[in-house]
């Protein structure tokens, strides 16, 4: 909107309040009252009233303002509006005994409602006005000190909001002043090492000493000092977030002899010889060149290689090179998948952080090949327990973090019309200062549109949102370590998205792609971390680019060229457009009401990046140095099993054993109590309160929804039918085994197996599954953390090859820890999310986990060894011992294949994988999801002949590669044929009685299905804050 700084004679600010009519419900006010109650303060207001507040600055007559209030802002059936001419008038309306708090976005913070109101007012009156919105809460029966405390805790985040305790009506809005060019040089050539370090930190560059040296050397060579914009460009381009320099660098890895635990024992040195990019030194250390290329990517390339050497996969179309990995869906269509994390912004402003996280991941899909259409989203959150009493200074309470990240994904995903179909939540108090927010997105594209490129002479066209100061330094911020002062220091890196700006952008780009004569653009990428600097920098890396920064449309005046260049303002894409297509592209933009600008031209004679401001050169850099100049030092990694073991998943989680809710015994009645306790654990209990806030069916493709069965049980994977004319399905799932963090190698294999299990259970062909890796690690400057990262990466290599599930894309976030006021560092447990998607040959064969029919048999497939380490049983029992489960890389894939064959054979009525909680939890879920009773004898669970596996372990161990299948007794012999020598046993029978009956060698216990369902469902709803 125009921010005129001309004479503003008749311009004044008008205030309009909109609230429910007398007698009408006030759901928002009631919601806030419920939220206040849920924090459990002894004092609380009698009542809370909500009113929407609109501040409108413009040259408006009284008639205009009244029309805006009555026709646009208030609903004439249920709402009333009030116009306040002056602040005094507004204040005079506060009733006695009532404390008012108003929450308004700070200047410069995106205010989508305001933008829409401006548009509607222009349509109504033909007048340009500037609108700001806010919310007024009248709290009855409390004082304003209490009201402000409530506002800070529930209603506002002072990083982006201002809180007022009287109705707010400024005389005018703050407006930017026009910018006058000043080219700032940063003296670096003569700096000492100490001074370089200070500069790197104070200027928020977050570059290593080696990198600062490389830059110093380059500018000594050039015989000049760097200009600010050049230094910033290097900081963005070389940030961990943008180049993954840790995973791509050379690593010197050595092993300390740890305690003799079977799992942590094996030495990389003994197997490294047969691994690409690995070199074993005489002293036993292993040198790994480009860890990513030598492990995660190596597996993919071997699988895509000649069949003779174990390859033969021909359906991977684009891996690791684009914004997302692409695989074939059928002969005409391709699907792509990308998963991102947005951890640090979400720690400070969870709502905006999560929303811009999903928004950015959606743009990655729009920026893949020649643009894909987003068809599904996924979200996985790792947070501290909502029951946590105290949080360190500088952290938000986990309950608030969780409800706000959910709201952020909901509001952005729902508005974009992209169904969020799969996800998970994992609780561990180590995430208190540094929660993890994973956002994934899947796209559909024609197979002839999977590759874009850029040619010299193409115009650099920016589409979408305007550029403001928001999000500056997001890329470098995400590569830093969070501390208790970050909320203040990095508030500018946090932003609020506007989903509708992005939806218009999406519609516009797909229209420009699907022109009868082919796409109007040759290349496309999104403005993510680093903004224009990384988007244009990447696209032009091979041929150079000349950019005229003053051409970018701004949200407000006063931005410097540097700010325009590195701003991470949301909802922007950069296209490479042949000049002859410009006019048609402009028409498409106009049709979709999308802003566009011509920033300049790709290609310079010297392969340089040239930055100009009204013609004046403000920056000039060699693309070679920018993209190849990073020194990439050798990094030290140490595998210290003892240190890793200290990260074992165990108390301090809330241990329920103390409460005497159950005893660790093999009595059926005690096993039943344990089952009920496990169903209530936040990791296991229902996530319906999240799933139902997402429109997970928009676009009308859903075949298997996140919640299945008559009473909405936890489905293993989502299935979509993306091409209406084809019966093919696309299944989406994830694997996360953070419980095994004490041994990252086992953790990753278990996660891959879980992801495959989830996909296979709904009918996915295990030979058509592709996966993604998302590493979230504590600081890898600590060699011990880098050591555990190396072992996790080795597991990616082994797992992907064994299951023949190529990695096609990935991302890493390697500084996830929080430093408290007192200087204590809280590291997150090493966390690797495996996201996977695969082909369902025919959706008619899809299977869900809900039990279908009394009289059917329940068959357990897979071996139980009694490995209870890292299980939820140990967690709730307050135990912390036992071996971690190992994944059998022969049996795991073989079992998946056999299960798929049985499903295609049409004899499987329901299938469910055993994961968190183990056998009894999985069996109970099947029973209550289908509302079919079950008699179960866990003793029958197959285990190795030479092992005497305790019943508790058979009931609750969380070992991989195990499935529960419901089949008719008539089909048991046929099932035998499909399973062959894969260990399996008939362990139960579905019955008409509405109970789960445990039969432990004659000793029995019975639990009503309703009670099991309630435990699972209510505990789930308990973890939300209303």
């Amino acid at each position: 909107m125009p921010s005129a700084i001309t004479v503003r004679s008749n311009i004044s600010v008008h205030r309009i309040e909109v609230r429910p009519r007398r007698g009408q419900a006030d759901p928002r006010g009631e919601l806030v009252l419920r939220q206040i109650e849920s924090i459990g303060l002894e004092k609380r207001p009698r009542r809370v009233d909500h009113a929407a507040v609109y501040l409108i600055e413009g040259d408006l007559s009284t008639v205009d303002v009244t029309r805006i209030a009555d026709e646009l802002l208030a609903d004439c059936v249920t709402q009333s509006s009030e116009v306040h001419a002056s602040a005094a008038a507004a204040k005079s309306r506060v009733a006695p005994g009532v404390a008012v708090v108003e929450v308004h976005p700070l200047p410069g913070v995106t205010d989508p409602a305001a933008e829409s109101a401006q548009l509607a007012i222009f349509a109504m009156l033909g007048k340009n006005v500037e609108v700001r919105t806010g919310d007024r809460f009248d709290l009855h029966g409390v004082d304003s000190k209490f009201a402000r405390a409530i506002a800070e805790r529930l209603l506002a985040n002072t990083v982006i909001h201002a809180i007022h305790d009287v109705p707010y009506l400024p005389t005018s809005f703050p407006h930017g002043a026009p910018y006058t060019l000043a080219i700032r040089e940063v003296p670096i050539v003569k700096l000492t090492d100490a001074q370089l370090a200070t500069l790197s930190r104070d200027a928020h560059l977050f570059l290593s000493p080696e990198e600062m040296h490389a830059i110093q050397a380059e500018y000594r060579r050039l015989g000049r000092e760097p200009r600010e914009i050049e230094l910033e460009t290097l900081a963005q381009t070389w940030s961990e977030h943008c180049v993954h320099k840790t995973l791509k660098s050379t690593i010197r890895y050595r092993e300390l002899s740890g305690p003799p635990t079977s799992d942590a024992q094996w030495s990389l040195a003994t197997v490294a010889r047969n691994r690409p990019g690995h070199e074993v030194q005489p002293d036993g250390t292993v040198v790994i060149k480009n860890l990513l290329k030598s492990t995660v990517a190596a597996a993919t390339h071997e699988l895509m290689g000649p069949a003779a050497q174990g390859g033969g996969i021909d359906w991977c179309l684009s891996v690791f090179v684009d914004n997302a990995g692409i695989i074939a869906f059928d002969d005409d269509w391709a699907v792509c998948f990308k998963c991102e994390t947005h951890n640090h912004p979400s720690a400070i402003e969870p709502y905006g952080g999560a929303a811009t996280g999903i928004g950015g991941c959606i743009r990655d899909i729009m920026g893949t090949g020649l643009a894909a259409k987003p068809i599904a989203a996924t979200d996985v959150f790792c947070v501290a327990y909502p029951t946590l009493a105290e949080v360190p200074s500088g952290c938000l309470h986990p309950k608030r973090v969780l409800t706000q990240v959910v709201a952020g994904v909901r509001d952005y995903g729902n508005r974009m019309g992209i169904p969020t179909v799969n996800g998970a939540v994992w609780f561990d108090n180590a995430y208190v200062g540094n929660p993890l927010v994973y956002c994934g997105c899947i796209g559909l594209m024609p197979r002839d549109k999977i590759r874009g490129h850029v040619e010299a002479g193409d115009r650099i066209i920016a589409l979408g949102g305007r550029t403001g100061r928001d999000g500056i330094h997001g890329a470098t911020f995400s590569s830093a370590e969070l501390t208790d002062t970050h909320a203040d220091e990095f508030s500018h890196a946090v932003q609020i998205g506007n989903a509708i700006t992005e939806k218009k952008l999406l519609d516009c780009i797909l229209a420009a792609r699907d022109r009868p004569n082919g796409p109007l653009f040759r290349g496309i990428t999104d403005c993510g971390a680093g903004g224009f600097s990384s988007a244009v920098g990447e696209m032009g890396s091979a041929i150079g680019a000349e950019v005229h920064l003053e051409r970018a449309p701004l949200k407000y005046d006063g931005l410097s060229p540097t700010e325009v260049w590195i701003s991470e303002a949301q909802e922007r894409m950069v296209l490479a457009v042949p000049p002859e297509n410009l006019d048609e592209l402009k028409r498409v933009c106009a049709e979709h009401q999308v802003d566009w600008c011509d920033l300049g031209r790709f290609g310079t004679p010297e392969r340089e990046l040239v930055l100009r401001w009204h013609g004046t050169e403000v920056g000039r850099m060699d693309m070679r140095f920018l993209h190849e100049g990073n020194p990439m030092p050798v990094r030290e990694a140490t595998w210290d099993a003892a240190f890793a073991a200290s990260q074992r998943y165990a108390p301090p989680a809330p241990t329920l054993v103390a409460s005497g809710r159950f005893k660790v015994s093999e009595k059926a009645s005690d096993l039943a109590k344990t089952l009920e306790t496990l169903l209530e654990h936040p990791n296991i209990s229902s996530k319906a309160w999240i799933v139902r806030q997402y429109d997970h069916e928009v676009q009308g493709m859903s075949v298997v929804k996140p919640l299945v069965g008559v009473s909405g049980g936890p489905g293993d994977a989502a299935v979509l039918q993306p091409v209406p004319t084809s019966a093919r399905g696309l299944a989406i799932a994830n694997g996360l085994a953070t419980g095994l963090a004490a041994d990252p190698y086992l953790m990753v294999l278990a996660a891959i197996d879980e992801c495959v299990r989830n996909l296979v259970c709904v009918g996915t062909d295990p030979t058509r599954i592709a996966i993604l890796d998302n590493f979230c690690w504590p600081s890898c400057k600590d060699p011990r953390n880098l050591g555990s990262l190396v072992r996790a990466a080795e597991a990616c290599y082994d797992g992907a090859k064994a299951y023949r599930t190529p990695f096609i894309s990935g991302k890493d976030s390697l500084n996830n820890q929080f430093v408290t006021e007192s200087g204590k560092t809280i590291q997150i447990p090493p966390t690797l999310l495996i996201s996977g998607f695969g082909i369902v040959p025919n959706v008619a064969n899809c299977v869900t986990m809900d039990a279908k029919c009394a009289g059917n048999a329940l068959v357990l497939v897979g071996t139980t060894h009694g490995w209870l380490g890292g299980s939820h049983f140990q967690l709730v029992a307050g135990l912390n011992d036992g071996a971690l489960p190992e994944t059998d890389l022969i049996a795991g894939p073989a079992t998946a294949k056999a299960i798929h064959a049985a499903i295609v054979g049409g004899i499987i009525k329901s299938a469910h994988d055993l994961s968190e909680g183990g056998l009894l939890v999985a069996a109970a879920e099947m029973a209550f999801a289908g509302n079919i009773g079950l008699e179960l004898d866990p003793v029958k669970a197959p285990s190795p002949r030479d092992l005497d596996v305790p019943i508790v372990a058979k009931c609750f161990a969380e070992e991989p590669s195990r499935y529960l299948l419901e089949v008719s007794y008539d089909d048991l012999t046929q099932l035998e044929r499909f399973l062959g020598d894969i260990p399996h046993a008939l362990i139960g029978r579905f019955v008409s009685a509405m109970t789960l009956k445990l039969n432990v060698a004659g000793d029995t216990a019975e639990i009503p299905l309703d009670r099991l369902r309630e435990r699972w469902a209510n505990a789930g709803s308990g973890s939300r804050s209303q």
């Binding site: 009408q24 419900a25 759901p27 919601l31 929407a52 026709e71 646009l72 609903d75 004439c76 059936v77 249920t78 989508p112 409602a113 933008e115 829409s116 109101a117 548009l119 509607a120 349509a123 109504m124 909901r410 729902n414 508005r415 974009m416 019309g417 506007n498 989903a499 509708i500 939806k503 218009k504 519609d507 049709e591 979709h592 009401q593 139902r692 806030q693 997402y694 429109d695 997970h696 069916e697 928009v698 676009q699 009308g700 859903s702 075949v703 929804k705 919640l707 299945v708 069965g709 008559v710 039918q721 209406p724 959706v843 899809c846 299977v847 869900t848 809900d850 279908k852 329901s910 289908g930």
Partner: protein, 266 residues
């Protein structure tokens, strides 16, 4: 001959694809036109025999759901749409479309026999925030009042277990004054209800959708366009093959309208 259906899209509209698909499965051909263009050339409406205003978050549903889009339509395409309805063209407005229609003067429309006013009427019904103040996605059982005039839903009696429709909205609580409610009931303008126990958003009289006095214009919060394949059903894997015969109820709604439109001479 296949009937041409118009689907109107705009910034934030995001259920247009499934609406187009539903029209096609019901035997119509579809053209999607952006509100921008339709505002410039309202006459484009004239050649269509069916009209759909899809769901989504038009203009972000900022201020209130459908508010901005309704404002824009009142000033632009309202007359063309009213004229089409007067000609006998059926129109469906699910979810956000419903929220827009009640604010753009398209629903509940003029009383029986009266002609459509040149200026859009002021709203008399509203779709407000759900009682729990939260967006909710879920399937609910529905019933069609025997006396409804709605040509889309009239006579729809799906088999038990299949008589569900998906909803996904945060502002679907149907609100109106007693007189309007009485009129709507008396004129058979209540097109569809939630089964009382499934009235999750707190709508008056469990009303999920209404129609105009001619029964041609259907506005409803549920998404029939998302129940056009049996695999859309939330637990289709437990429905017997016998139950999965014929059109799912969502598709049946569109078939009835296409059949009706083919009988209307234009």
């Amino acid at each position: 001959m296949q009937l041409p259906a118009l689907v109107i899209t705009a910034p934030g509209i995001n259920c247009d694809l499934e609406l187009c698909r539903a029209f096609e499965l019901a035997g119509a051909t579809v053209e999607t036109i952006h509100l921008q263009r339709l505002s410039r050339e309202p006459a484009l409406v004239d050649r269509f025999r069916l009209i759909g205003l899809p769901g989504g978050f038009s203009y972000g549903d900022d201020i209130a759901a459908g508010r901005v889009m309704a404002q824009l339509m009142r000033h632009t395409v309202y007359p063309a749409l009213a004229a089409a309805i007067a000609r006998g063209v059926p129109m469906i407005t699910p979810c956000n479309g419903f929220q827009i229609a009640v604010q753009a003067g398209l629903l509940p429309g003029p009383s029986a026999g009266a002609r459509w006013p040149d200026e859009p009427a002021a709203p008399t019904v509203a779709l407000m925030q759900n009682v729990n103040a939260r967006f909710h996605d879920g399937w609910t059982r529905f019933e069609v009042p025997a006396e409804t005039r709605c040509i889309w839903t009239r006579g729809l009696r799906p088999a038990p277990g299949t008589d569900l429709l998906p909803s996904a909205h945060g502002e679907g609580r149907f609100v109106t004054d007693e007189d309007t409610l009485a009129q709507l009931k008396a004129n058979g303008q209540v097109a569809i209800r939630y089964v009382a126990s499934d009235n999750f958003n707190g709508s008056i009289d469990a009303i999920a959708g209404i129609c105009d006095a001619t029964g041609l214009v259907l506005g409803l919060m549920p998404h029939p366009e998302r129940y056009t394949r049996w695999t859309h059903h939330p637990w289709w894997t437990r429905l017997s093959p016998a139950l999965r015969q014929g059109d799912p109820p969502g598709l049946a709604i569109f078939r009835q309208a296409v059949a009706h439109a083919s009988r209307v001479s234009v």
